[in-house]
Protein backbone atom coordinates (compact mmCIF):
# COMPACT_ATOMS: atom_id res chain seq x y z
CA UNK A 1 0.00 0.00 0.00
CA UNK A 2 1.30 3.37 -0.91
CA UNK A 3 0.32 4.93 2.39
CA UNK A 4 2.61 2.59 4.32
CA UNK A 5 5.32 5.23 4.38
CA UNK A 6 3.10 7.95 5.75
CA UNK A 7 1.67 5.60 8.38
CA UNK A 8 5.18 4.83 9.63
CA UNK A 9 5.94 8.50 9.66
CA UNK A 10 2.74 9.24 11.54
CA UNK A 11 3.64 6.63 14.13
CA UNK A 12 6.98 8.33 14.67
CA UNK A 13 5.23 11.65 15.11
CA UNK A 14 2.83 10.14 17.58
CA UNK A 15 5.62 8.47 19.51
CA UNK A 16 7.44 11.76 19.73
CA UNK A 17 4.32 13.57 20.90
CA UNK A 18 3.72 10.84 23.42
CA UNK A 19 7.26 10.99 24.68
CA UNK A 20 6.98 14.72 25.17
CA UNK A 21 3.68 14.16 26.89
CA UNK A 22 5.15 11.51 29.17
CA UNK A 23 7.85 13.96 30.16
CA UNK A 24 5.21 16.57 30.82
CA UNK A 25 3.14 14.15 32.87
CA UNK A 26 6.33 13.17 34.64
CA UNK A 27 6.92 16.78 35.58
CA UNK A 28 3.33 17.21 36.71
CA UNK A 29 3.55 14.00 38.74
CA UNK A 30 6.77 15.19 40.30
CA UNK A 31 5.16 18.50 41.19
CA UNK A 32 2.25 16.61 42.69
CA UNK A 33 4.53 14.25 44.59
CA UNK A 34 6.52 17.27 45.73
CA UNK A 35 3.39 18.96 47.05
CA UNK A 36 2.41 15.75 48.81
CA UNK A 37 5.87 15.29 50.28
CA UNK A 38 5.97 18.93 51.32
CA UNK A 39 2.63 18.53 53.04
CA UNK A 40 3.85 15.49 54.93
CA UNK A 41 6.96 17.33 56.02
CA UNK A 42 4.94 20.33 57.08
CA UNK A 43 2.80 18.23 59.38
CA UNK A 44 5.79 16.18 60.61
CA UNK A 45 4.58 12.94 59.18
CA UNK A 46 6.86 10.03 60.00
CA UNK A 47 6.21 6.50 58.87
CA UNK A 48 8.70 5.16 61.43
CA UNK A 49 6.79 6.70 64.31
CA UNK A 50 3.60 5.19 63.03
CA UNK A 51 5.32 1.85 62.65
CA UNK A 52 6.56 1.96 66.24
CA UNK A 53 3.21 2.93 67.62
CA UNK A 54 1.24 0.47 65.55
CA UNK A 55 1.26 -2.39 68.11
CA UNK A 56 0.00 -0.08 70.87
CA UNK A 57 -2.70 1.16 68.55
CA UNK A 58 -3.69 -2.31 67.43
CA UNK A 59 -3.86 -3.57 71.02
CA UNK A 60 -6.33 -0.92 71.92
CA UNK A 61 -8.72 -1.61 69.09
CA UNK A 62 -10.45 -4.27 71.20
CA UNK A 63 -11.55 -1.51 73.51
CA UNK A 64 -13.73 -0.28 70.71
CA UNK A 65 -15.88 -3.40 70.72
CA UNK A 66 -19.44 -2.09 70.96
CA UNK A 67 -21.27 -2.81 74.16
CA UNK A 68 -24.55 -3.83 72.58
CA UNK A 69 -26.59 -3.76 75.77
CA UNK A 70 -26.00 -0.08 76.12
CA UNK A 71 -28.15 0.60 73.07
CA UNK A 72 -31.28 -0.46 74.90
CA UNK A 73 -30.12 0.57 78.36
CA UNK A 74 -29.58 4.18 77.35
CA UNK A 75 -32.38 4.24 74.77
CA UNK A 76 -30.02 5.28 72.00
CA UNK A 77 -32.60 4.98 69.20
CA UNK A 78 -34.53 7.85 70.77
CA UNK A 79 -31.41 9.98 70.94
CA UNK A 80 -30.66 9.21 67.33
CA UNK A 81 -34.13 10.37 66.36
CA UNK A 82 -33.28 13.74 67.92
CA UNK A 83 -30.14 13.85 65.82
CA UNK A 84 -32.22 13.00 62.77
CA UNK A 85 -34.63 15.78 63.69
CA UNK A 86 -31.74 18.24 63.92
CA UNK A 87 -30.47 17.25 60.50
CA UNK A 88 -33.93 17.34 58.98
CA UNK A 89 -35.07 20.63 60.47
CA UNK A 90 -31.72 22.24 59.66
CA UNK A 91 -31.96 21.11 56.05
CA UNK A 92 -35.54 22.31 55.68
CA UNK A 93 -34.73 25.67 57.25
CA UNK A 94 -31.76 26.10 54.95
CA UNK A 95 -33.49 25.19 51.69
CA UNK A 96 -35.34 28.44 50.89
CA UNK A 97 -32.25 30.64 51.08
CA UNK A 98 -30.11 27.98 49.42
CA UNK A 99 -32.58 27.93 46.56
CA UNK A 100 -32.78 31.69 46.26
CA UNK A 101 -29.06 32.34 46.50
CA UNK A 102 -28.25 29.29 44.40
CA UNK A 103 -30.45 30.51 41.57
CA UNK A 104 -29.31 34.11 41.84
CA UNK A 105 -25.70 32.93 41.91
CA UNK A 106 -26.00 31.34 38.46
CA UNK A 107 -24.49 33.34 35.64
CA UNK A 108 -27.54 32.54 33.53
CA UNK A 109 -29.97 34.26 35.83
CA UNK A 110 -27.94 37.15 37.22
CA UNK A 111 -25.47 38.75 34.83
CA UNK A 112 -21.79 38.19 35.42
CA UNK A 113 -20.29 40.47 38.00
CA UNK A 114 -23.45 40.65 40.10
CA UNK A 115 -23.96 36.94 40.51
CA UNK A 116 -20.70 36.91 42.43
CA UNK A 117 -22.36 38.84 45.22
CA UNK A 118 -24.60 35.88 45.87
CA UNK A 119 -21.82 33.38 45.37
CA UNK A 120 -19.74 35.18 47.97
CA UNK A 121 -22.53 35.07 50.52
CA UNK A 122 -22.72 31.32 49.98
CA UNK A 123 -18.94 31.15 50.15
CA UNK A 124 -18.94 32.75 53.59
CA UNK A 125 -21.60 30.36 54.80
CA UNK A 126 -19.43 27.42 53.69
CA UNK A 127 -16.09 28.77 54.78
CA UNK A 128 -17.10 29.12 58.38
CA UNK A 129 -17.16 25.58 59.74
CA UNK A 130 -20.51 24.49 61.16
CA UNK A 131 -18.73 24.19 64.48
CA UNK A 132 -17.87 27.86 64.50
CA UNK A 133 -21.38 28.79 63.43
CA UNK A 134 -22.52 26.68 66.34
CA UNK A 135 -20.32 28.61 68.75
CA UNK A 136 -21.44 31.92 67.29
CA UNK A 137 -25.10 31.07 67.74
CA UNK A 138 -24.78 29.99 71.36
CA UNK A 139 -25.79 33.45 72.58
CA UNK A 140 -28.98 33.02 70.59
CA UNK A 141 -30.11 29.61 71.72
CA UNK A 142 -27.59 28.22 74.20
CA UNK A 143 -25.75 24.94 74.01
CA UNK A 144 -28.69 23.08 72.57
CA UNK A 145 -30.15 21.15 69.72
CA UNK A 146 -31.72 24.40 68.51
CA UNK A 147 -28.32 26.02 68.09
CA UNK A 148 -27.09 22.95 66.23
CA UNK A 149 -30.09 23.14 63.96
CA UNK A 150 -29.47 26.80 63.21
CA UNK A 151 -25.79 26.13 62.53
CA UNK A 152 -26.77 23.31 60.18
CA UNK A 153 -29.30 25.52 58.44
CA UNK A 154 -26.72 28.26 57.89
CA UNK A 155 -24.13 25.94 56.45
CA UNK A 156 -26.80 24.28 54.31
CA UNK A 157 -27.35 27.61 52.58
CA UNK A 158 -23.77 27.64 51.37
CA UNK A 159 -23.33 23.97 50.67
CA UNK A 160 -26.62 23.29 48.97
CA UNK A 161 -26.82 26.66 47.24
CA UNK A 162 -23.45 26.10 45.67
CA UNK A 163 -24.47 22.69 44.36
CA UNK A 164 -27.60 24.30 42.91
CA UNK A 165 -25.52 26.96 41.19
CA UNK A 166 -23.17 24.35 39.76
CA UNK A 167 -26.11 22.34 38.50
CA UNK A 168 -27.65 25.35 36.78
CA UNK A 169 -24.44 25.85 34.82
CA UNK A 170 -25.13 22.54 33.11
CA UNK A 171 -28.63 23.36 31.99
CA UNK A 172 -29.14 22.99 28.27
CA UNK A 173 -30.08 25.97 26.18
CA UNK A 174 -32.59 24.07 24.06
CA UNK A 175 -35.45 24.10 26.52
CA UNK A 176 -34.76 27.69 27.52
CA UNK A 177 -34.93 28.73 23.88
CA UNK A 178 -38.06 26.66 23.42
CA UNK A 179 -39.73 28.56 26.25
CA UNK A 180 -38.52 31.87 24.89
CA UNK A 181 -40.06 31.13 21.51
CA UNK A 182 -43.43 30.51 23.13
CA UNK A 183 -43.28 34.12 24.28
CA UNK A 184 -42.80 33.22 27.94
CA UNK A 185 -41.70 35.98 30.30
CA UNK A 186 -38.27 35.96 31.97
CA UNK A 187 -39.70 34.44 35.14
CA UNK A 188 -41.61 31.78 33.25
CA UNK A 189 -38.51 30.95 31.23
CA UNK A 190 -36.50 30.47 34.43
CA UNK A 191 -39.17 28.28 36.00
CA UNK A 192 -40.24 26.22 32.98
CA UNK A 193 -37.07 26.31 30.89
CA UNK A 194 -34.38 26.07 33.58
CA UNK A 195 -35.75 24.83 36.89
CA UNK A 196 -37.83 22.07 35.37
CA UNK A 197 -34.62 20.66 33.90
CA UNK A 198 -32.82 20.56 37.21
CA UNK A 199 -35.77 19.71 39.45
CA UNK A 200 -34.76 16.13 40.01
CA UNK A 201 -31.09 16.98 40.47
CA UNK A 202 -32.06 19.63 42.98
CA UNK A 203 -34.04 17.08 44.95
CA UNK A 204 -31.17 14.62 44.69
CA UNK A 205 -28.68 17.20 45.94
CA UNK A 206 -30.98 18.17 48.76
CA UNK A 207 -31.15 14.56 49.83
CA UNK A 208 -27.37 14.32 49.66
CA UNK A 209 -26.97 17.40 51.81
CA UNK A 210 -29.56 16.01 54.19
CA UNK A 211 -27.33 12.96 54.66
CA UNK A 212 -24.33 15.19 55.23
CA UNK A 213 -26.34 17.24 57.69
CA UNK A 214 -27.34 14.22 59.73
CA UNK A 215 -23.65 13.40 60.10
CA UNK A 216 -22.99 17.01 60.95
CA UNK A 217 -25.69 16.82 63.62
CA UNK A 218 -23.82 13.92 65.19
CA UNK A 219 -20.62 15.96 65.21
CA UNK A 220 -22.28 19.01 66.73
CA UNK A 221 -23.72 16.74 69.36
CA UNK A 222 -20.16 15.81 70.28
CA UNK A 223 -19.74 19.44 71.29
CA UNK A 224 -22.86 19.48 73.37
CA UNK A 225 -25.33 20.26 70.63
CA UNK A 226 -27.89 17.60 71.54
CA UNK A 227 -28.92 14.22 70.24
CA UNK A 228 -26.89 11.06 70.18
CA UNK A 229 -23.64 12.98 69.79
CA UNK A 230 -23.91 14.09 73.40
CA UNK A 231 -24.16 10.50 74.58
CA UNK A 232 -21.14 9.59 72.53
CA UNK A 233 -19.26 12.51 74.00
CA UNK A 234 -20.14 11.67 77.60
CA UNK A 235 -19.19 8.05 77.13
CA UNK A 236 -15.99 9.17 75.50
CA UNK A 237 -15.22 11.42 78.44
CA UNK A 238 -15.84 8.46 80.72
CA UNK A 239 -13.55 6.48 78.46
CA UNK A 240 -16.35 3.99 78.13
CA UNK A 241 -15.39 3.21 74.57
CA UNK A 242 -17.65 0.17 74.42
CA UNK A 243 -20.62 2.38 75.11
CA UNK A 244 -19.28 5.02 72.77
CA UNK A 245 -19.08 2.49 69.98
CA UNK A 246 -22.61 1.34 70.76
CA UNK A 247 -23.60 4.94 70.07
CA UNK A 248 -21.63 4.91 66.87
CA UNK A 249 -23.29 1.72 65.75
CA UNK A 250 -26.64 3.43 66.19
CA UNK A 251 -25.32 6.39 64.19
CA UNK A 252 -24.16 3.94 61.53
CA UNK A 253 -27.59 2.38 61.31
CA UNK A 254 -29.19 5.81 61.21
CA UNK A 255 -26.89 7.04 58.48
CA UNK A 256 -27.21 3.90 56.42
CA UNK A 257 -30.98 4.08 56.75
CA UNK A 258 -31.01 7.71 55.67
CA UNK A 259 -28.69 6.96 52.78
CA UNK A 260 -30.74 4.02 51.64
CA UNK A 261 -33.96 5.97 51.64
CA UNK A 262 -32.32 8.87 49.89
CA UNK A 263 -30.63 6.59 47.35
CA UNK A 264 -33.90 4.86 46.64
CA UNK A 265 -35.64 8.18 46.14
CA UNK A 266 -32.87 9.44 43.93
CA UNK A 267 -32.77 6.39 41.72
CA UNK A 268 -36.53 6.60 41.49
CA UNK A 269 -36.22 10.21 40.38
CA UNK A 270 -33.47 9.38 37.92
CA UNK A 271 -35.06 6.62 35.92
CA UNK A 272 -38.66 7.33 36.56
CA UNK A 273 -39.80 4.66 34.12
CA UNK A 274 -38.84 1.90 36.51
CA UNK A 275 -41.95 0.67 38.26
CA UNK A 276 -40.88 1.16 41.82
CA UNK A 277 -43.30 -0.64 44.08
CA UNK A 278 -44.70 1.73 46.62
CA UNK A 279 -43.97 5.05 44.97
CA UNK A 280 -45.36 3.91 41.66
CA UNK A 281 -48.41 2.82 43.52
CA UNK A 282 -48.91 6.19 45.14
CA UNK A 283 -48.18 8.18 42.04
CA UNK A 284 -50.26 5.92 39.84
CA UNK A 285 -53.19 6.10 42.22
CA UNK A 286 -54.91 9.29 41.03
CA UNK A 287 -54.83 8.06 37.46
CA UNK A 288 -56.46 4.78 38.35
CA UNK A 289 -58.98 6.37 40.64
CA UNK A 290 -59.97 8.82 37.96
CA UNK A 291 -60.34 5.98 35.51
CA UNK A 292 -62.55 3.95 37.78
CA UNK A 293 -64.76 6.95 38.54
CA UNK A 294 -65.32 7.67 34.87
CA UNK A 295 -66.06 4.10 33.95
Amino acid sequence: MSTEKSVEQRLEEIRLTRRVRWVLYGILSLAFAGAFYGSLVLINFSVMDLYHQWPTFADRLVRYTPNWEYIIERNLPLESVITLAMGFAGTVLGIPLALLLGILGSGRVTPYPFNFIFRSVMGVSRAIPALVWFLMFIPLAGLSAVTSTIAIAVSTIGNLGRLFTDELEEVEDGQIEAMETTGASKGQTVVFGMLSQVKTSFIAWTLYIFEVNVRQAVTLGLLGGGGIGVVIQVQQDLRAYGNMMAGIVVVLVLIIAVEMVSQRLRSYLRDDEEADGLIQLIVGLPQRMAESVLK
Binding site: D49, Q53, G142, V231
Partner: protein, 308 residues
Protein backbone atom coordinates in the same frame (compact mmCIF):
# COMPACT_ATOMS: atom_id res chain seq x y z
CA UNK B 1 1.42 22.18 67.97
CA UNK B 2 2.56 18.67 67.42
CA UNK B 3 6.13 19.81 67.15
CA UNK B 4 7.66 16.57 68.23
CA UNK B 5 10.91 18.24 67.33
CA UNK B 6 13.62 16.07 68.79
CA UNK B 7 13.10 12.56 69.92
CA UNK B 8 14.33 12.97 73.48
CA UNK B 9 12.11 15.90 74.24
CA UNK B 10 9.75 15.63 77.15
CA UNK B 11 6.22 15.89 75.82
CA UNK B 12 4.13 18.09 78.06
CA UNK B 13 0.45 18.01 77.12
CA UNK B 14 -1.78 20.89 78.07
CA UNK B 15 -5.50 20.71 78.34
CA UNK B 16 -7.30 24.02 78.04
CA UNK B 17 -10.75 22.67 78.69
CA UNK B 18 -11.65 24.83 81.64
CA UNK B 19 -9.62 27.98 81.31
CA UNK B 20 -10.00 31.04 79.21
CA UNK B 21 -6.36 31.39 78.27
CA UNK B 22 -3.90 30.60 75.57
CA UNK B 23 -2.51 27.74 77.50
CA UNK B 24 0.64 27.25 75.46
CA UNK B 25 1.61 30.86 76.04
CA UNK B 26 0.86 30.55 79.74
CA UNK B 27 3.09 27.57 80.11
CA UNK B 28 5.98 28.81 78.06
CA UNK B 29 7.77 30.41 81.06
CA UNK B 30 7.34 27.17 82.97
CA UNK B 31 8.79 25.17 80.11
CA UNK B 32 11.73 27.53 79.89
CA UNK B 33 12.23 27.30 83.62
CA UNK B 34 12.22 23.51 83.48
CA UNK B 35 14.62 23.45 80.59
CA UNK B 36 16.96 25.74 82.48
CA UNK B 37 16.77 23.73 85.68
CA UNK B 38 17.03 20.25 84.27
CA UNK B 39 18.62 20.57 80.87
CA UNK B 40 15.76 18.62 79.32
CA UNK B 41 13.92 19.77 76.22
CA UNK B 42 10.25 20.38 76.76
CA UNK B 43 7.65 20.23 73.98
CA UNK B 44 4.38 21.86 74.85
CA UNK B 45 1.45 20.19 73.08
CA UNK B 46 -2.07 21.46 73.19
CA UNK B 47 -4.87 18.93 73.57
CA UNK B 48 -8.50 19.46 72.64
CA UNK B 49 -10.11 17.57 75.50
CA UNK B 50 -8.92 15.93 78.65
CA UNK B 51 -9.69 12.44 77.31
CA UNK B 52 -7.16 13.19 74.64
CA UNK B 53 -4.55 13.91 77.32
CA UNK B 54 -5.32 10.59 78.97
CA UNK B 55 -5.13 8.74 75.68
CA UNK B 56 -1.79 10.37 75.03
CA UNK B 57 -0.43 9.49 78.49
CA UNK B 58 -1.57 5.93 78.26
CA UNK B 59 -0.11 5.29 74.81
CA UNK B 60 3.29 6.85 75.25
CA UNK B 61 2.38 9.92 73.24
CA UNK B 62 2.97 12.22 76.21
CA UNK B 63 5.04 12.24 79.39
CA UNK B 64 3.51 14.94 81.53
CA UNK B 65 0.08 16.46 81.37
CA UNK B 66 -1.69 19.35 82.87
CA UNK B 67 -5.20 18.04 83.08
CA UNK B 68 -8.44 18.22 84.99
CA UNK B 69 -9.32 16.69 88.39
CA UNK B 70 -11.46 13.96 86.87
CA UNK B 71 -8.39 12.71 85.06
CA UNK B 72 -7.01 11.40 88.36
CA UNK B 73 -9.57 8.67 88.89
CA UNK B 74 -9.74 8.12 85.14
CA UNK B 75 -5.99 7.74 84.83
CA UNK B 76 -5.60 5.23 87.62
CA UNK B 77 -3.11 2.61 86.64
CA UNK B 78 -1.17 4.50 84.01
CA UNK B 79 -0.80 8.08 85.23
CA UNK B 80 0.55 9.38 88.51
CA UNK B 81 -0.23 12.65 90.19
CA UNK B 82 2.91 14.74 90.51
CA UNK B 83 1.43 17.84 91.97
CA UNK B 84 -1.45 20.23 92.08
CA UNK B 85 -1.61 23.71 90.66
CA UNK B 86 -2.20 26.40 93.22
CA UNK B 87 -3.52 29.85 92.66
CA UNK B 88 -2.60 32.68 94.95
CA UNK B 89 -1.59 30.23 97.60
CA UNK B 90 -4.82 28.26 97.56
CA UNK B 91 -4.88 24.66 96.48
CA UNK B 92 -8.60 24.32 96.90
CA UNK B 93 -11.29 25.83 94.80
CA UNK B 94 -15.04 26.10 94.83
CA UNK B 95 -18.11 25.96 92.69
CA UNK B 96 -20.90 28.45 93.05
CA UNK B 97 -24.51 28.48 92.06
CA UNK B 98 -25.79 32.01 91.61
CA UNK B 99 -28.93 33.73 90.46
CA UNK B 100 -29.78 37.30 89.54
CA UNK B 101 -31.26 39.54 92.23
CA UNK B 102 -34.68 39.87 90.57
CA UNK B 103 -35.64 36.17 90.27
CA UNK B 104 -36.96 35.62 93.74
CA UNK B 105 -34.96 32.45 94.09
CA UNK B 106 -33.76 32.15 97.67
CA UNK B 107 -32.30 28.73 97.96
CA UNK B 108 -31.43 25.74 95.80
CA UNK B 109 -34.73 23.98 96.36
CA UNK B 110 -36.51 26.94 94.77
CA UNK B 111 -34.93 25.90 91.48
CA UNK B 112 -37.47 23.15 91.03
CA UNK B 113 -39.09 23.40 87.57
CA UNK B 114 -36.76 26.24 86.62
CA UNK B 115 -34.01 26.41 84.03
CA UNK B 116 -30.39 26.57 85.09
CA UNK B 117 -27.12 26.52 83.19
CA UNK B 118 -23.96 24.64 84.07
CA UNK B 119 -20.47 24.57 82.60
CA UNK B 120 -19.06 22.00 80.22
CA UNK B 121 -20.74 18.65 80.65
CA UNK B 122 -17.87 16.85 82.36
CA UNK B 123 -16.33 19.85 84.11
CA UNK B 124 -15.82 19.14 87.81
CA UNK B 125 -16.43 22.64 89.10
CA UNK B 126 -18.79 23.79 86.36
CA UNK B 127 -21.14 20.85 86.27
CA UNK B 128 -20.38 17.79 88.38
CA UNK B 129 -20.03 19.50 91.74
CA UNK B 130 -23.03 21.82 91.27
CA UNK B 131 -25.15 18.86 90.20
CA UNK B 132 -24.22 17.11 93.39
CA UNK B 133 -25.16 20.25 95.35
CA UNK B 134 -28.59 20.25 93.72
CA UNK B 135 -29.01 16.61 94.51
CA UNK B 136 -28.06 17.20 98.13
CA UNK B 137 -30.59 20.03 98.26
CA UNK B 138 -33.26 17.43 97.53
CA UNK B 139 -33.73 17.92 93.79
CA UNK B 140 -34.01 14.88 91.58
CA UNK B 141 -31.20 15.30 89.10
CA UNK B 142 -31.99 12.13 87.18
CA UNK B 143 -29.12 10.93 85.02
CA UNK B 144 -27.60 14.34 84.54
CA UNK B 145 -25.00 14.95 83.18
CA UNK B 146 -25.46 11.76 81.15
CA UNK B 147 -29.08 12.50 80.42
CA UNK B 148 -31.71 14.85 81.75
CA UNK B 149 -32.51 16.03 85.24
CA UNK B 150 -36.05 15.43 86.44
CA UNK B 151 -36.91 18.28 88.79
CA UNK B 152 -35.45 21.13 86.77
CA UNK B 153 -33.98 21.76 83.36
CA UNK B 154 -30.20 21.79 83.33
CA UNK B 155 -28.52 23.22 80.27
CA UNK B 156 -24.84 22.88 79.75
CA UNK B 157 -22.69 25.67 78.33
CA UNK B 158 -19.30 25.33 76.67
CA UNK B 159 -17.51 27.06 79.55
CA UNK B 160 -17.96 28.87 82.85
CA UNK B 161 -18.17 32.36 81.42
CA UNK B 162 -20.85 31.39 78.95
CA UNK B 163 -22.81 29.74 81.72
CA UNK B 164 -22.79 33.01 83.65
CA UNK B 165 -23.55 35.13 80.60
CA UNK B 166 -26.53 32.99 79.68
CA UNK B 167 -27.95 33.66 83.15
CA UNK B 168 -27.62 37.38 82.66
CA UNK B 169 -28.86 37.47 79.10
CA UNK B 170 -31.62 34.90 78.93
CA UNK B 171 -34.66 35.65 81.08
CA UNK B 172 -35.74 32.06 81.07
CA UNK B 173 -32.58 31.03 82.88
CA UNK B 174 -32.72 31.75 86.60
CA UNK B 175 -29.47 30.29 87.90
CA UNK B 176 -26.05 29.32 86.76
CA UNK B 177 -23.34 27.10 88.10
CA UNK B 178 -19.72 28.06 87.54
CA UNK B 179 -16.36 27.80 89.17
CA UNK B 180 -16.08 30.55 91.74
CA UNK B 181 -13.42 32.27 89.65
CA UNK B 182 -16.03 33.00 87.01
CA UNK B 183 -18.78 34.26 89.30
CA UNK B 184 -17.16 35.80 92.39
CA UNK B 185 -16.19 39.09 90.74
CA UNK B 186 -19.87 39.78 90.17
CA UNK B 187 -21.11 38.70 93.60
CA UNK B 188 -20.93 41.19 96.51
CA UNK B 189 -18.22 40.01 98.87
CA UNK B 190 -20.39 39.91 101.99
CA UNK B 191 -22.54 37.16 100.51
CA UNK B 192 -19.57 34.80 100.85
CA UNK B 193 -19.06 35.51 104.52
CA UNK B 194 -21.26 32.60 105.62
CA UNK B 195 -18.93 30.15 103.94
CA UNK B 196 -15.91 29.94 106.22
CA UNK B 197 -13.95 27.53 104.14
CA UNK B 198 -14.36 29.77 101.15
CA UNK B 199 -13.21 32.83 103.05
CA UNK B 200 -10.22 30.96 104.32
CA UNK B 201 -9.06 28.99 101.29
CA UNK B 202 -10.38 30.63 98.21
CA UNK B 203 -8.17 32.82 96.11
CA UNK B 204 -11.29 34.50 94.78
CA UNK B 205 -12.59 35.89 98.06
CA UNK B 206 -10.47 39.03 97.89
CA UNK B 207 -11.65 39.96 94.47
CA UNK B 208 -15.30 39.17 95.09
CA UNK B 209 -17.60 41.90 93.82
CA UNK B 210 -14.76 43.70 92.10
CA UNK B 211 -16.33 43.62 88.67
CA UNK B 212 -19.48 45.33 89.88
CA UNK B 213 -17.61 48.62 89.81
CA UNK B 214 -17.04 48.10 86.08
CA UNK B 215 -20.76 47.96 85.59
CA UNK B 216 -21.10 44.20 85.23
CA UNK B 217 -24.44 42.72 86.25
CA UNK B 218 -24.77 41.81 89.91
CA UNK B 219 -25.32 38.16 90.80
CA UNK B 220 -26.77 36.75 93.94
CA UNK B 221 -25.12 33.78 95.58
CA UNK B 222 -27.28 30.73 96.22
CA UNK B 223 -24.69 28.23 97.36
CA UNK B 224 -20.96 27.55 97.54
CA UNK B 225 -19.66 24.03 97.27
CA UNK B 226 -17.34 22.10 99.49
CA UNK B 227 -13.74 22.66 98.55
CA UNK B 228 -12.31 20.71 95.66
CA UNK B 229 -8.70 20.00 94.79
CA UNK B 230 -7.33 22.06 91.94
CA UNK B 231 -6.23 20.57 88.67
CA UNK B 232 -3.38 18.09 88.80
CA UNK B 233 -0.13 17.73 86.90
CA UNK B 234 0.20 14.07 86.01
CA UNK B 235 2.97 11.94 84.59
CA UNK B 236 2.92 8.72 82.66
CA UNK B 237 3.52 5.91 85.17
CA UNK B 238 5.68 4.01 82.72
CA UNK B 239 7.86 7.05 82.15
CA UNK B 240 11.20 5.74 83.23
CA UNK B 241 13.83 8.31 82.61
CA UNK B 242 16.46 9.91 84.83
CA UNK B 243 15.03 13.27 83.78
CA UNK B 244 11.74 12.48 85.40
CA UNK B 245 12.85 13.05 88.99
CA UNK B 246 14.63 16.26 88.13
CA UNK B 247 11.59 17.58 86.39
CA UNK B 248 9.25 16.62 89.20
CA UNK B 249 11.50 18.24 91.72
CA UNK B 250 11.90 21.37 89.68
CA UNK B 251 8.14 21.63 89.20
CA UNK B 252 7.46 21.45 92.91
CA UNK B 253 10.22 23.95 93.60
CA UNK B 254 8.99 26.53 91.16
CA UNK B 255 8.35 30.00 92.49
CA UNK B 256 5.81 32.38 91.20
CA UNK B 257 8.51 34.43 89.41
CA UNK B 258 9.71 31.30 87.61
CA UNK B 259 6.30 30.91 86.08
CA UNK B 260 5.81 34.54 85.05
CA UNK B 261 6.79 35.64 81.58
CA UNK B 262 9.76 38.04 81.54
CA UNK B 263 8.13 40.85 79.69
CA UNK B 264 5.03 41.03 81.88
CA UNK B 265 2.74 43.93 81.42
CA UNK B 266 1.37 45.87 84.32
CA UNK B 267 -1.16 43.83 86.23
CA UNK B 268 -0.47 40.58 84.40
CA UNK B 269 -1.77 37.65 86.36
CA UNK B 270 -1.15 34.02 85.76
CA UNK B 271 -4.06 31.90 86.81
CA UNK B 272 -1.76 29.66 88.74
CA UNK B 273 1.05 30.66 91.02
CA UNK B 274 2.76 27.47 91.90
CA UNK B 275 2.64 23.71 92.10
CA UNK B 276 2.46 21.86 95.35
CA UNK B 277 2.96 18.25 96.11
CA UNK B 278 -0.08 16.06 95.82
CA UNK B 279 -1.03 12.49 95.22
CA UNK B 280 -3.95 10.29 94.38
CA UNK B 281 -5.53 10.62 97.78
CA UNK B 282 -5.96 14.36 97.44
CA UNK B 283 -8.43 13.67 94.69
CA UNK B 284 -10.72 11.43 96.65
CA UNK B 285 -13.37 14.17 96.77
CA UNK B 286 -13.52 14.01 92.99
CA UNK B 287 -13.98 10.26 93.04
CA UNK B 288 -16.75 10.76 95.56
CA UNK B 289 -18.54 13.24 93.33
CA UNK B 290 -18.35 10.81 90.45
CA UNK B 291 -19.61 8.00 92.63
CA UNK B 292 -22.51 10.08 93.86
CA UNK B 293 -23.49 10.98 90.33
CA UNK B 294 -23.17 7.39 89.20
CA UNK B 295 -20.46 8.16 86.66
CA UNK B 296 -17.93 5.41 86.22
CA UNK B 297 -14.81 5.29 84.19
CA UNK B 298 -14.34 2.17 82.19
CA UNK B 299 -11.63 -0.04 83.58
CA UNK B 300 -9.35 -1.44 80.95
CA UNK B 301 -7.30 -3.60 83.30
CA UNK B 302 -6.23 -6.53 81.16
CA UNK B 303 -7.70 -9.28 83.34
CA UNK B 304 -11.19 -8.08 84.01
CA UNK B 305 -12.53 -7.38 80.58
CA UNK B 306 -16.04 -6.31 81.37
CA UNK B 307 -17.91 -3.06 81.59
CA UNK B 308 -17.76 -2.74 85.33
Amino acid sequence: IGSTGDDDAVRFVLNPAEEQTDIVEEYTPMAEYLEEETGATIDLIRAGTYVETLEALETDQADIADTSPTAVPAGEGFADVIGMRTAFGGSLYFSTIATTPDTGIEELSDLEDEVMTTGARMSTSGTLMPTLMLSEAGLDIGNFPDGEANDLELRTAPDHDTSRERLVEDDEIVASATGAFASAPQIPQEQFDDYEEFVEHSAEYDGAGSALEDGEAELQLLAVSDPMPRAPIMARSAWDDPEREDIEAALLDADEEDLQPDDVEEGYELWFTGIEEADQSDYEPVQEILDELGLEFQDFAPDEEDDE
